[in-house]
């Protein structure tokens, strides 16, 4: 390949990168406008109902002795009739006191029916497939073990299934350990933007709000009918979301169904989490992209949103490639100095404020949530640029390796931030 042709290829690549960035920037900007100044679509949380749907609540656990009691106590205190409620904590090959804690609660509370997974592949998706077979009730709600749902939350999530077209529901996750360090503060901002603005806007605009795997639920028979959860996935939530949409079902986002969670406070833990999300999400993208594009149940704009949703974890390496191409073009003399600098700033700036840290979405979210001083932290989101790009890109390379080598995926649990419970606690 001669130098001129190579330069043209790189220049074309940079143009594509800029076009992709513009599309995502417009999308995020549209979402922010929708949330701030357009009609907000109501969810079903204001419905009062004497005949609540029977639900099974699932809490996957692997070495969760530090948080298991809190999660179970919160669920047992739910404002939900016990005869309409079943709680299945899944002990996924724990090696700590989780097993004994679950046994203790099962003895005391008939509605607690633990599932003990003793051998085989670990992972939420495998456990959920077992739950699909043993759950007694038609609606399954899923919580992570470190979540402590309030008493009204089950009601609020269950109400979404009033709509016969709804296949899944998603609530809002709010970090509890916000003030611990820089990472938790930045993740808190990201979560606000992601839920308060991004998810609600997609719901407002009749696009594709996402089922998020926790603080959410789905119709059991429906998931069984579409083949259960793929065992070769690390992002069973994304996978389920797109499969539901592709077959004409809807996901409801319930912004006021809120639940505290703990976000990672160590950069290494966050790196692994993001890498796993990227790997799982990209596998889901490869598996479902054509189904979304070809779905006859979705409008053009919904399909476009679905494609952008699926590609979101494939973008960072594309952008890093754009930066590299920019540098190469600069040294080849094929790009004017000013243009090269501007494009470099554009890519870095966009990724800092537009993609993984959509600054206007976060700003809008903080406005809606009443955040005042925390908005000053927005410039520090710049620090997440390289970090997020590296973690997500690592996930992309994992995905490529998985595909090329037909490699099985292995579940990697996110480390808990909460301290171990005191010895002798009842």
């Amino acid at each position: 390949m001669n130098t001129s042709l190579f330069a043209h290829v790189l220049q074309t690549y940079v143009v594509i990168v800029i076009a992709v960035m513009c599309v995502y920037a417009v999308r995020h900007f549209w979402f922010s406008i929708s949330r701030l100044s357009m009609t907000q679509r109501p969810s079903f949380q204001d419905l009062y109902d004497d005949e609540l749907p029977a639900i099974t609540v699932v809490v996957p656990m692997h070495n969760e002795a530090t948080v298991a009691r809190d999660a179970l106590e919160a669920l047992l205190n739910a404002d939900y009739p016990p005869d309409r409620l079943e709680i299945i904590p899944i002990d996924d090959q724990s090696r700590d006191a989780t097993t004994s804690i679950l046994a203790e609660y099962a003895d005391r509370h008939p509605i607690v029916r633990p599932l003990y997974v003793l051998r085989g592949a670990r992972g939420k998706q495998n456990s959920l497939n077992v739950v699909l077979r043993i759950a007694k009730h038609p609606i399954v709600l899923v919580f992570d073990a470190d979540y402590t749902p309030g008493p009204g939350l089950l009601r609020e999530l269950g109400a979404a299934f009033t709509d016969p077209e709804v296949g899944a529901v998603m609530g809002r996750v709010v970090p509890r350990n916000t003030g611990r360090n820089l990472l938790t503060r930045l993740l808190s901002l990201e979560r606000s933007g992601g839920y308060q603005v991004d998810q609600q806007a997609r719901f407002n605009l009749d696009l594709l709000p996402q089922y998020g795997g926790t603080v959410g639920g789905f119709r059991r028979e429906l998931v069984e009918r579409i083949g259960g959860f793929h065992e070769e996935t690390l992002a069973e939530d994304t996978d389920l979301t797109v499969r539901l949409y592709a077959q004409g079902w809807k996901v409801v986002y319930a912004n006021r169904a809120e639940c505290y969670e703990e976000v990672p406070h160590q950069w290494s833990v966050r790196f692994r989490q993001l890498r796993r999300w990227s790997r799982g999400h990209n596998r889901a993208m490869l598996r479902n992209l054509s189904a979304i594009v070809r779905s006859e149940h979705l409008s053009f704009i919904q399909r476009l949103d679905g494609v952008l949703l699926l590609l979101v974890y494939a973008i960072p390496p594309l952008l890093l490639g754009g930066l590299a191409a920019n540098v190469v073009l600069f040294y080849m003399g094929a790009m004017p100095v000013i243009a090269s600098i501007l494009i470099g700033f554009f890519i870095v700036g966009y990724n800092a404020v537009g993609n993984f840290a959509p600054v206007y979405e976060i700003g809008a979210a903080e406005l809606l949530d009443g955040g005042v001083e925390r908005i000053y932290l927005l410039p520090l989101l710049f620090t997440l640029f390289l970090f997020n790009s590296a973690a997500v890109s690592a996930g992309v390379f994992d995905t490529i390796g998985d595909v090329l080598k037909s490699r099985s995926v292995r579940w990697d649990k996110t480390g808990r931030a909460r301290r171990p419970e005191a010895p002798g606690r009842a």
């Binding site: 109501p42 005949e51 609020e156 709509d163 016969p164 820089l182 001083e373 927005l378």
Partner: protein, 326 residues
Amino acid sequence: MISLTVTIIAFAAVFFAPLFMAGVELVRKRDAAALPLTPEYVREPRFFARSFREKIGRLADAPAGTPAGHVLSRVDDDVHVVDELPYQARTTDTRVLVVRGSADYPKDVVMRDHYVVGNASGGERLRARTILVEGDATLGPGLRVRRWIDAERSLTVRRGSGLGLSGSAGGPVTLEGDVRFTRVFGTPVRTAANGGAIPAAPHLPGAEIVDAESVHAADIVARGDLHIRPGARVHGSVKCHGRLVVGAGAVVDGSVTVRGNVHLGAGAQVTGHVFSEASIVLSHEARVALEGARKSVYAARRIVLGPEVTVWGWVFAERGGRTTGA
């Protein structure tokens, strides 16, 4: 040289100022707490009454005639306990009052928060902020409530009244003509035989049709408008992405979820929820939910209740509702 130095300093200031502010917030942690949720929150149609009773209910046993001080945690709350209403027509009272007996309100009274241990009646053109009644309440006409009203047994609201944010009762709620409301909860909520015009059902050209007098035994999902013709029976829930008209005497044995407006014809019945992202009209003798299985009529915009409508449960209009009447 000086201009270059100034330029560099200006650039550095512009570049580092936001980072400096971020650093200050990071160190001082002025806004580092988790977003305040209310995890104990539970959807409860009579929440206001329960909360108010918890604060003020114990005063029902306090000696009459003595000021009880501040019990509502507001500096301007001046709570007094009385055996009987000390009001005459056109009285204005800024106190929070605990009435240990029944209260028969004269005309044109302007008052604040009242806790009535017995029954409440009268109240023509009564202006109040809050009323909690432990017995039966029959108030109006022309009652104006700014915040909420609740009766432990039954609540009857005469014509031309406004219920503020919430009107509720442990038993039946009866609304006469031209009553304005936002949320009403009762077992059941009924409207009286009022006059007044009910908005006509919209014409829906191109709508999907459920034939008159037919029986449909499955959920229905309509991509556009849907017209369930008179006398039809649907055993299942309905989802409609456009507008929905349920004809006279038709029955939906399930819930109704609609993106557009909903119009329930005369005598039409829905046994589940009626949920609309726009507005809802319930015509003459329309019924929603069943005794012992309370549900909701929810509209993101407005609700119009015609005469002799019955709703077992909650009627909730985000932008306000009204009963028909002159």
